[in-house]
Amino acid sequence: MSKTVELPRWIDVGALPLLNLLLALVVSGLVVLAIGENPIQVVEILLYGAFGYEEAWGYTLYYTTNFIFTGLAFAVAFHCGLFNIGAEGQAYIGGLGVTLAALYLDFLPFPIMLVVAMLAAMIFGAAWAYIPAYLQARRGSHVVITTIMFNFIASSLMVYLLVNVLRPEGSMTPESEQIAEHLRLPFIHDIAGALGIEMASSPLNLSFVYAIVISVMVWLFIWHTRWGYAIRTVGANAVAATYAGLEPGRFIIIAMMISGALSSFVALNEVMGVQHRLLIDFTAGYGFVGIAVALMGRNHPFGIFLAALLFGMLYQGGAELSFEIPTISNDMVVVIQGLVILFTGAMEHMFRPRVTKIYTAWRLHQDAGEAA
């Protein structure tokens, strides 16, 4: 084999993902062209819709919050070598935990409720992830298939509960009762208003701050704790981990439960922060977007934040887009999402050999130049 030089970090985690992202966006542009619209105009509307006015910012960051949670969820499992496709179901069941806590423990004061709701979400989400985790760790059932199945089971279960149990008497719509006003997460514009700052109202709430805190905690956990190290070791090489005295099954279960707990925080944002009640399919695909977010962010909390922001922008800008150009619906965003997953996830190695070759040639040329 010919000699190759190892790629420096800035190419590996910076330039290559950007190249893939660019390709995804170019193909998206071609799709826009194909349906007879102007890609430049689409980008303009997208950007204006996402950042052009104050309210838009709030919406963008509100979507970002969900994507940070699901992105982190996917990343933690991924570090253990697992594909958790089940964030959708775990977040959904987490929503059940939050709702039950808020509806039946409504006598609690807000600060205590906040902790209780968080714990309820985590316990429900982690429990839903536990079963596939256990089956993977102890019985060798592939976690991808089981988590997909669990998404559907969660969906059926929640429809049943919403229709038959949680629906208030006399109501026709399958949704739970409203949670008490004093138990809702404060909106950022309300907090800012209390501090004397005028802000346009948007669904952005306290959970955005929480998402940032959680990102830092996940970073600390993965790279600066024993468990994090063990999880990464199991993910990198389960056999080696066994020889190092780590029991892979144990860390598979731990990683999946943490992943489930992280997914469940979507419910904090949606149920406690924005909708104030449990709705059918409130997760709206956020769990699946998490896969794209984590892959694009290279499973690092900082990368995940940037990728979540990109998708938050696409979601909010996409809403504006369907408003401005009737032929382009919100589905354009779904297409972009699919292309981003395809190019940054599935085809991440596409440019690597070529870039390595070019970089090697360039380095060899430079070295030769220095020697001369």
Binding site: I35, L135, S141, F150, V334, G338
Partner: protein, 323 residues
């Protein structure tokens, strides 16, 4: 209506609901037996359904629609293969990407072409697959037991239903009785050995995903031009995943997969009929439970409580040729 007639009608509905599952499950089997995970069945079905309905509407022939569906799904299979086989990308990720992409793209193109909120226009009789009535079906209708079985259950389905049921023994024959099938199974178990024998692993896997594309294309066309009369946004509604579950449930083998598809199809047909029915001693049957049963059963099977489902050994691993 007597019980017997009810059972026949339920079984009749089962045949119709299990047809797309059978075709998609066989599609999944071809791909996975060769070592390529195919989570993209859902998205491919959707793409096939859309192409079939759109082309059948323009051309006025369900057969041209079927060809368009197959062309679409072969293209998607090749895309999946390009990512997973050529570039050794992650197969799970590629599958999910295709599912998400097609969910958006079918709706987007549908709106751009027809401006009906993602639907395609309703197809008239000539552009859909019509039921085929067996000779003498009407005449024997009144014969007790056998008459009803012949006229209701066996006769009166469209061509794709019969194709699906014939595809099962055909797939079995290809898989277990031909050289192609042997090689296909071999690249899914031990690609290194196949390579040593001088057979190209990459080419073999591409051929397998193309087979997969042909089958899943038919299942998509069935949804929009045989069972239904137009494409509806996200009309597959998880059928691709149920087919995947059926394939796993059938342990990656044609006849057990057929049995699983019939079981899941039966549950689907029963769920529709059980809506609001109160059974003596049990009370009202929660329809959601019946709907979730295929998934629950698959998880139980995967957990190893009803036999053991062992996937092909090299499933999910790209082949790296030794240098």
């Amino acid at each position: 209506m007597d019980t017997f007639q009810l059972i026949i009608l339920l079984l009749d509905a089962t045949l119709r609901t299990s047809t797309p599952l059978i075709l998609a499950a066989l599609a999944g089997m071809f791909s996975e037996r060769s070592g390529t995970i195919n989570l993209a069945l859902e998205g491919m079905m959707l793409g096939g359904a859309f192409s079939a309905a759109a082309v059948a509407f323009y051309v006025g022939s369900p057969w041209v629609g079927l060809l368009a569906a197959i062309a679409t799904t072969i293209a998607l299979s090749l895309l999946h293969g390009f990512a997973c086989i050529t570039h050794k990308g992650n197969q799970v990720v590629s599958g999910m990407a295709i599912n998400i992409l097609m969910s958006g793209l079918t709706a987007l193109v549908g709106i751009a072409l027809f401006a009906q909120g993602g639907k395609t226009p309703a197809l008239d009789k000539g552009s859909r697959f019509q039921p085929i009535t067996f000779p003498g079906a009407d005449a024997v209708q009144d014969v007790p037991v056998l008459g009803l079985i012949y006229s209701e259950l066996l006769s009166g389905h469209n061509i794709l239903v019969y194709v699906a049921f014939l595809a099962v023994p055909a797939a079995w024959w290809v898989m277990y009785r031909t050289r192609f099938g042997l090689r296909l199974r071999a690249v899914g178990e031990n690609p290194g050995a196949v390579d040593t024998a001088g057979i190209g692993v990459v080419a073999m896997r591409y051929r397998a995903v193309i087979c997969s594309g042909v089958l899943v294309g038919m299942s998509g066309a069935y949804l929009s031009t045989a069972q239904g009369a137009s494409f509806l946004q996200d009309m597959t509604a998880g059928k691709g995943y149920i087919a995947l579950a059926a394939m796993v449930f059938g342990k990656w083998r044609p006849f057990p997969a057929l049995a699983a598809c019939l079981l899941f199809g039966f549950l689907d047909a029963a769920a529709t009929r059980l809506q609001g029915v109160v059974l003596p001693g049990i009370g009202e049957v929660p329809v959601q439970l019946v709907q979730a049963l295929p998934y629950i059963l698959t998880v139980i099977l995967l957990a190893g409580f009803i036999g053991r489902a062992i996937p092909p050994k090299a499933l999910g691993r790209a082949y790296v040729k030794e240098r």
